[in-house]
Amino acid sequence: MNSAEASWLHTLYITYAETLYRIACYRLQDANRAQDLLHSVFLAAAQKVPALQAHENPLGWLLRALNYELSHEFARQAKQTAQEQPLHPSPAGLAPTPPPSLGLAEVLPVQLSPRDREILLLFYEEGLSYQEIAQRLGVPVSTCGTWLSRARKHCRAYLSHSPGFPD
């Protein structure tokens, strides 16, 4: 990375870091982890500065990278919780602690088909790649892309009719 690229990345950081940090804080409820994830996002950006400079929507790129980091963090937390559960079983009768923020499964429109819902969750919540999703669902990679695009379109159509999403 040359000095011009470093300067550009610095400007990008100053512009978007606080918002990304607040999103991560809200999703994780942990300021230190939020800061770590923010750094991971910008380290990934530092590796791809030329591509990011040519990108038409750097904020979208950063949000996607943050979402990827968040999905891995949630997976890590879930794994850790599963490992710790036999050692510290929760008292019987107590409900599990609710997640601090909503999960994607809770906010997807109920009208979505099971296939649309599944592929959206695999891609956006679990952070799987097209290849991994195609392998899991037993379909070609190109089909996976088509299904994902269609699922997003359906999701937008259903949300546009809901009262909370005027546009």
């Binding site: 990375m1 950081y13 870091a17 607040r22 300021a31 530092a46 929507n57 923020s101 909503l102 949300l159």
Partner: protein, 199 residues
């Protein structure tokens, strides 16, 4: 009222989640900030983008070449400052007033000023103040070479150009080369020195 607030918060949470996952390409910074303001019960811990950026660079210097260069410069500067400190400690004092050696710089004083260029400058100042007379604002005319009080002021010729007795200094009057030989001068040279015996 609280139900309205709760439903608004839930809608904001829903929208934030969707805009940061499914519809990242269509969202904008002000919209995200507005949603976060609605959602946050209390502002998150204070965040300084500049401080965070510096921390990122410090934690991952391999990713930031400028930072690497700065680190290299810092080491070079520290080396120079250490060498200078050693020089200061080893050289005898050169004060005008006293021939006694100046007090050595303390380790604390040296280590405090090493890390930055400003510190290096401060170290120079410290060394100067401890070993030499304080610098004067203007040069001491009396100690300047070639000019003494009452001498001709600088910028004036040391002779009067109109005075022909001193005109040897002027190029046009001074002979640049010996005069050329003439036939007469050659003929007038006596062939043998005159003998004292012969008239």
């Amino acid at each position: 009222m609280s139900h309205t607030t709760s439903s608004a918060r839930r809608a904001a949470a829903q929208r934030l989640l969707l805009e940061t996952t499914l519809f990242q390409e269509e969202t904008s910074l002000p919209r995200l900030q507005a949603l976060l303001t609605t959602l946050e019960d209390q502002p998150p811990p204070a965040f300084s983008a500049e401080a965070s950026w510096r921390q990122l660079q410090a934690t991952h210097p391999d990713c930031f070449p400028l930072r690497r260069a700065r680190a290299w410069r810092r080491w070079a500067l520290a080396g120079s400052a250490a060498a200078l400190a050693a020089l200061v400690l080893l050289l005898p004092a050169q004060t005008k007033e006293s021939t006694a050696p100046a007090p050595a710089l303390s380790q604390d004083a040296v280590s405090q000023v090493i890390p930055t260029s400003a510190g290096l400058a401060a170290l120079y100042d410290l060394a100067y103040l401890e070993n030499l007379a304080p610098p004067s604002a203007c040069p001491d005319v009396e100690n300047l070479p070639f000019f003494l009080p009452g001498d001709t002021a600088p910028g004036h010729l040391p002779f009067d150009p109109e005075d022909k007795t001193q005109s040897i200094f002027l190029l046009e009057d001074a002979p640049l080369s010996p005069a050329p030989f003439s036939q007469d001068s050659v003929q007038n040279i006596p062939s043998e020195p005159a003998s004292p015996e012969t008239p």
